[in-house]
């Protein structure tokens, strides 16, 4: 995914020519994609994101950060015989794509990504200074 794609995801309404540009860009995109199902958890140290991307290996996975936009994209690649013909297909789009907007207290520079058995797991730690501090309430 190029930087332009991320910009397209958040169209700039102030510029009237923008929607048309966006259409052109999306038609130039080589492939349709589906949004993978995700689980998102937050604990004291950061955020954990799990995404179902069956058929995606580490080589075909792309995790990209542009500003505060985190884009995940993966191509499913499955070994099939040359002479196979499809009889039934519930999964018809071999590409997963989804974008998330991070908030400032997250430390985008220390994101860890891992993919195993078609599940992408991302750990986005919080900035050290952003971790929760208990604020004591004094009796007035």
């Amino acid at each position: 995914m190029s930087n332009t794609d991320l910009a397209t995801a958040a169209p700039d309404r102030s510029n009237p020519t923008r929607p048309q540009d966006a259409r052109m860009e999306s038609s130039e995109r080589s492939q349709r994609a589906v949004a993978p199902a995700v689980d998102i958890f937050e604990d004291a140290g950061g955020i954990t994101l799990l995404a179902d991307m069956p058929g995606v290996s580490r080589e075909n996975l792309d995790v990209r950060l542009h500003g505060d936009s985190l884009a995940i994209e993966g191509q499913a690649s499955i070994a099939t015989a040359e002479d196979m013909r499809a009889l039934w297909a519930e999964v018809s789009v071999p590409c997963f794509r989804r974008t998330f907007t991070l908030s400032r207290e997250l430390d985008a520079g220390r994101i860890e990504a891992n993919i195993k058995d078609g599940v992408l797991s991302l750990r986005i730690p919080k900035q050290a200074h952003a971790q929760a501090k208990k604020i004591s309430v004094r009796a007035g």
């Binding site: 199902a37 604990d43 040359e82 196979m84 013909r85 499809a86 009889l87 999964v91 018809s92 789009v93």
Partner: protein, 150 residues
Amino acid sequence: MLDTMFYRPQGLLDQLTTLHQALTRSLTGDGTPDAIRSVAAGSFPGINVGRTTKTLEVYAFAPGLDAASIDVTVERGVLKISGERRGSAPGGDLKVQTYAAERPMGRFTRALTLPDDADTAKVEATYRDGVLRVSVGLQEAAQPTRIAVR
């Protein structure tokens, strides 16, 4: 290679026709599936089926499983795939907040009636990158034979 897996091999119009036929076959007028073992669209795991001259190939898109815990059985011509996805929330910690829980969890089973020419003695299953591939052999007789014209 992927083309045969994800796209129907014909042109766009044929593709739409095939899709429409598939939908008509699987949906009755009130929008419910009519095959006795069909499940609602979007059920976990998604299944694709293809056929080569020698095998029937079933792909189940079931990420995040332990290969040893997947059950693949063939009984009386019905192929069943079952397993369990365990919750992934960092266990039992009360301080963990969940913002999204879209991934299906728990036990699942999908069943498919195999064609008459399936050879249930020749079934192989492999699990890779979250995709289970079950390859069912087809009986020799079902493979096309060339008839010499005299």
